[in-house]
């Protein structure tokens, strides 16, 4: 074969491999693809980035093209050319090194990943006047991490995660690199969201319900630690005194849904809890213990199937089918132990009732006999297993190399609960007791509630993003509120008149009814008159009573961010209702809330008052001023007098938590009133639209809970965003001084 012409610079490293690579490529690819492959190789040689890119492509490119098809060339060339024009051109070699190692099943996936590389490059490099000047610090990290990342998520999921990282840390190269290395909990949580399968957290309630319903077990369900990088399977499920440990995430396997797999594991563990008795394991060899565990597991599963025959299909599908022949040849030539393999075969025989050889047939017969008498016991199973071990021991069982493949039964645990050791041995692989923790100081507040935050760009929630703390508002002086009310005496008097008109009349007489408790005399006499006169009378001659009650629960959410301390800057300085000098938004809000609380107490509706402010997503405080059950007396008044403005307005989290509080109330109508003076914002969020979108999403969630949300905004510029958050359900008060009068009116208008 004629060696092709080699334009461009010549490298010694290339000379050594070139001919062999070309020959191999010809074996695998058609001529046109080989030409294209070579063209790209020559182009890489001319880039001025040394021999490495060209060498990598020559060595691995042909494999890649064979696997993915020549369609890969176009997006790859485009991406490489684009990268070459940026300060990150030196990453081309790394890219070509890493690309063949990625789990990219199709050309489209590969193109997607290349697009992500370019996107990351573009958004993470420092640019001046739209021209990148420094190489991106994050790009090498991304390239290095990609194999591990793609082993766990599909390309689209990786894209979403990368996008979230770029938007969170796009301006902090170091933090972005940490994010890409999955070193922060946020990063791991976001990554986990995009992984396929079912997370334990999502299945936990159903599993707990199942355990309670079928087993009357009320034990915590805890996740196992994530399998370490590069480890195919993590730790096995296990049973401890403090709860059940299950894998943190499961995927479809052998046509069985992850939920079904979780249920099988939970059922097996519950079965152990009910039917297994611990044994003393000191005098038994590891091999004997393994056999005892296998037979005991089989007993638990047989008992499970006796109670729940519906689990059989899933068990049959999930149980590994070990090779029919335990490979005698492997015994002799490869010096490996087939013990686990034989035990898996035994377990399979005990599950299906179809023994493969005489030893298994004997165990099966004794197993069936033991179980036909009742539940049998762990001790009986141990006797059975030891007999099997004695009868089927092989020379090869002592070899260090053990065949593990296809021997782990999917739903079974590590049986640590089965053994008691009288002497602490050194052969056990235990982690030891965790070091005693220093005694923690008694926490002074309730632990935070975690709420997600809506990421409008990703159209997904950021899981457990915001910490919300419930706190009781420290009290001020109740007399301040009374003094404040005295100052707004006129308003209060007008309000009282309005309230008297609205006050529910408790018993309402319903006249003119077909069915009722009493005769409606006027109607009855009229009907009698009609009858006597020969006219068909109206039969609705009774009356009854109805109690006319309002059943409304109201939660007032007060924005207590720093901006409420601003003095009131009224555009109309004089005239009726103008603010007095020295009034702040806060003092007017206090007066308004006090008037409202008084009005609501008169009407007999239930009211809670909660203030909120936020200091980054790590701390959103909800300050409880008045609870639903509390009367409007000195204690809540004192707390209202004590409220102070501070920090920022992370509204979405506050809305979610307030919704949580309100949705627990039973009432015909539940109203969440939000009193705020500015747009949602927080110091750790650069994009002002983000928290607006999150608040809007929170309002949607509240709608879904059946809560009616209404916003009273004191921000004259509120029109720009308030409609997007609350829709039409908002009132903008541009003259803050009118708030004390308007707030109760708005409430009454809403609930009339």
């Amino acid at each position: 074969m004629l060696a092709p012409q080699r334009p461009g610079p010549r490298f010694v490293e290339i000379d050594a491999i070139f001919d062999a690579c070309v020959a191999q490529a010809h074996e695998r690819l058609d001529a046109a693809t080989v030409d294209a492959w070579l063209d790209l190789a020559f182009w890489l040689g001319r880039l001025g980035r040394g021999a490495e890119p060209q060498r990598q492509w020559l060595l691995r490119g042909a494999d890649l093209l064979e696997r993915l098809g020549p369609g890969l060339l176009a997006p790859l060339c485009e991406a490489l050319a684009a990268l070459q024009k940026t300060p990150d051109g030196r990453a081309i070699g790394d890219l070509l090194t890493v690309l063949p190692a990625l789990r990219l099943p199709t050309v489209a996936d590969a193109a997607g990943w290349l697009a992500q590389v370019l996107e990351l490059q573009r958004r993470s490099s420092v640019a001046i006047h739209h021209r990148a000047i420094d190489p991106s610090a994050a790009l090498p990290v991304f390239l290095a991490e990609s194999p591990a990342l793609l082993a766990r998520v599909p390309v689209e999921g990786l894209g979403r995660w990368l996008d979230a990282g770029l938007r969170l840390h796009g301006h902090h190269p170091d933090r972005l690199a940490d994010f890409l290395r999955r070193q922060s909990p946020d990063s791991r949580a976001l990554f986990s969201r995009d992984r396929p399968g079912l997370a334990l957290a999502d299945a936990e309630r159903r599993l707990a319900l199942t355990l309670r319903a079928l087993w009357a077990l009320d034990e915590p369900i805890l996740p196992l630690p994530e399998p370490a990088e590069g480890e195919a399977v993590g730790a096995l499920p296990y049973l401890e005194a403090d709860g059940l440990r299950l894998p943190g995430r499961l995927e479809d396997y052998a046509g069985v849904s992850p939920l079904q797999r979780y249920r099988l594991i939970a059922a097996h563990l519950a079965g152990h809890r009910r039917w297994s008795q611990p044994l003393v394991g000191d005098n038994w060899s590891p091999m004997q213990r393994l056999a005892v565990e296998t037979v005991e597991d089989a007993r638990i599963d047989a008992l499970l199937l006796r109670r729940f025959p519906g689990l059989r299909a899933a068990m049959r599908a999930l149980h590994p089918l070990p090779p029919a022949d335990p490979s005698e040849s492997a015994d002799s030539s490869r010096r490996v132990s087939t013990l686990r393999l034989r035990l898996a075969r035994l377990s399979c025989a005990l599950l299906t009732g179809e023994p493969g050889d005489d030893a298994e047939r004997e165990v099966l017969a004794r197993f069936t006999a033991a179980l036909s008498m009742g539940d049998s016991s762990t001790r009986d199973m141990a006797t059975l297993a030891l007999a099997w071990v004695a009868g089927s021991r092989r020379q090869s069982d002592q070899f260090a190399e053990v065949i593990f493949e296809g021997t782990q039964v999917d739903w079974r645990d590590d049986n640590r609960h089965l053994w008691r050791f009288i002497e602490a041995g050194d052969e056990e692989d235990t982690l030891g007791d965790p070091p005693p923790r220093p005694a923690e100081a008694e926490p002074e507040e309730l632990p935070p509630r975690l709420y997600p935050e809506w990421d409008a760009a990703a159209l997904a929630y950021r899981p457990d993003w915001v910490k919300v703390y419930d706190r009781l508002q420290p009290a001020g002086r109740a007399s301040d509120i009374d003094a404040l009310l005295a100052r707004h005496h006129d308003t209060e008097r007008d309000l009282k008149r309005l309230l008297d008109a609205l006050k529910p009349q408790d018993r309402v007489r319903l006249r003119h009814q077909e069915e009722g408790s009493e005769l409606d005399l006027d109607r009855a006499i009229a009907a009698l008159g009609d009858l006597r006169a020969g006219i068909l009378p109206d039969t609705r001659v009774q009356m009854s009573h109805r109690t006319d009650g309002r059943d409304i629960a109201v939660l007032l959410l007060m924005d207590l961010s720093a901006s409420v301390n601003d003095p009131v800057n009224d555009p109309v300085p004089a005239g009726e209702g103008a603010a007095e000098p020295g009034e702040t938004v806060l003092s007017l809000s206090r007066a308004a809330v006090a008037l409202l609380a008084g009005a609501i107490a008169t009407l007999g509706d239930r009211l809670a008052i909660v203030g909120f402010h936020s200091d980054t997503r790590q701390r959103v405080d909800l300050l409880h001023v008045k609870g639903f059950g509390e009367a409007w007396d000195d204690a809540p008044k004192a707390r209202l007098a004590g409220v102070q403005g501070a920090f920022s307005t992370r509204m979405g989290a506050a809305l979610r938590h307030a919704g949580e509080l309100l949705s627990g109330r039973r009432a015909d109508r539940r109203l969440l009133l939000v009193l705020t003076d500015g747009r949602p914002s927080d110091v750790d969020v650069a994009d002002p639209e983000h928290l607006v979108a999150d608040a809007a999403q929170a309002v949607h969630e509240l709608d879904a809970l059946g809560l009616y949300t209404h916003c009273i905004s004191l921000d004259a510029q509120a029109d720009a965003y308030v409609g997007r958050v609350f829709g039409a359900r908002c009132s903008v008060i541009d003259r803050v001084a009118q708030l004390p009068r308007r707030l109760p009116e708005i409430f009454l208008g809403l609930t009339r």
């Binding site: 159903r206 319900l209 319903a213 249920r263 109670r307 009722g516 005769l519 009907a527």
Partner: protein, 268 residues
């Protein structure tokens, strides 16, 4: 004279399996004409028990299902308009008291508290019912007895009996029958085979353990019988159990799924 309570007589023997000595206790209470209160979860056989006792004692049974719109007039009676003038129409309670029936107020806590007060005079030594609108005092017939039932499981402040009402009654606590007995009930009520009945009872018990964990009330014997009747009409047991036992009691997706799983696992 025709028997005004003829329609309320229990003609055939209702099927009832005693769980304990409740039949003897009830007979003693009736002999002393003591009012009886039956407490227990819905669908566990309270109404059936009253029916059975009425049949056994040979008394007519006037049953009133109480609801929150019920007024005292619905129990006592009211004036109706007729061509010749007004006519008094006895309510079920008055009817039973006048002619000597057992009056059974089912789910009495559903009625408003002011409504239930009308039974007070009937349930103490006076044994009379004043009809204030008519100006009549009805003296209760010697055979009259009042029975009420309610479900203490509804934890609602509004739905409870006044202490003054409670203090007039003797009371039975009912619960779902023991599994073996419940399976027998299921077999005789719906005619399905005993093994299937035992499995259905196991599903019901699973659901009962979820009470208070998202379920207001477990699967009752009545729902089990419904499922059994569906199965008798050729529905597959799984579908029947889903339709009759799970779908009616919960809208919570997680609980529904967990109970569906229990059905699949137990019925196989």
């Amino acid at each position: 004279m025709t028997d005004p309570l003829h329609d309320w007589r229990v003609a055939a023997e209702p099927h009832y399996r005693p769980q304990g000595n409740e039949v003897a206790l009830y007979e003693a209470a009736y002999a002393a004409r003591l009012p009886v209160m039956l407490k227990g979860p819905t669908g566990c056989g309270k109404s059936r028990f009253v029916e059975y006792m009425a049949w056994r004692l040979g008394r007519p049974l006037v049953t009133v299902a109480c609801n929150e719109d019920m007024t005292a007039a619905d129990l006592v009676g009211r004036f109706l308009l007729e061509p010749t003038g007004t006519r008094w129409q006895d309510g079920p309670l008055t009817l039973a008291a006048r002619f000597g029936a057992i009056c059974y107020l089912d789910e009495v806590v559903e009625a408003r508290q002011d409504t239930t007060v009308v039974i007070h005079a009937l349930t103490d030594h006076r044994r009379c019912l004043p009809l204030d609108k008519k100006g009549e005092l009805v003296r209760a017939h010697p055979d009259f007895q009042l029975v009420i039932s309610y479900n203490p499981g509804y934890q609602s402040l509004m739905k409870d009996l006044k202490p003054s009402t409670r203090q007039r009654f003797t009371a039975f606590d009912f619960d779902y029958p023991a599994p073996a007995l419940e399976a027998q009930v299921l077999v005789s009520e719906s005619g399905i085979d005993a093994a299937l009945a035992a499995r259905l009872v196991e599903v019901a018990q699973a659901a009962r353990r979820l009470k208070g964990h998202g379920l207001a009330e477990g699967i009752s014997t009545r729902l089990l019988v419904n499922a059994g009747q569906l199965i008798r009409h050729g529905i597959a047991p799984r579908d029947a159990a889903r339709m009759a036992m799970v779908r009616p009691i919960t809208d919570d997706a997680d609980i529904r799924e967990s109970l569906d799983h229990a059905i699949d696992a137990v019925l196989g």
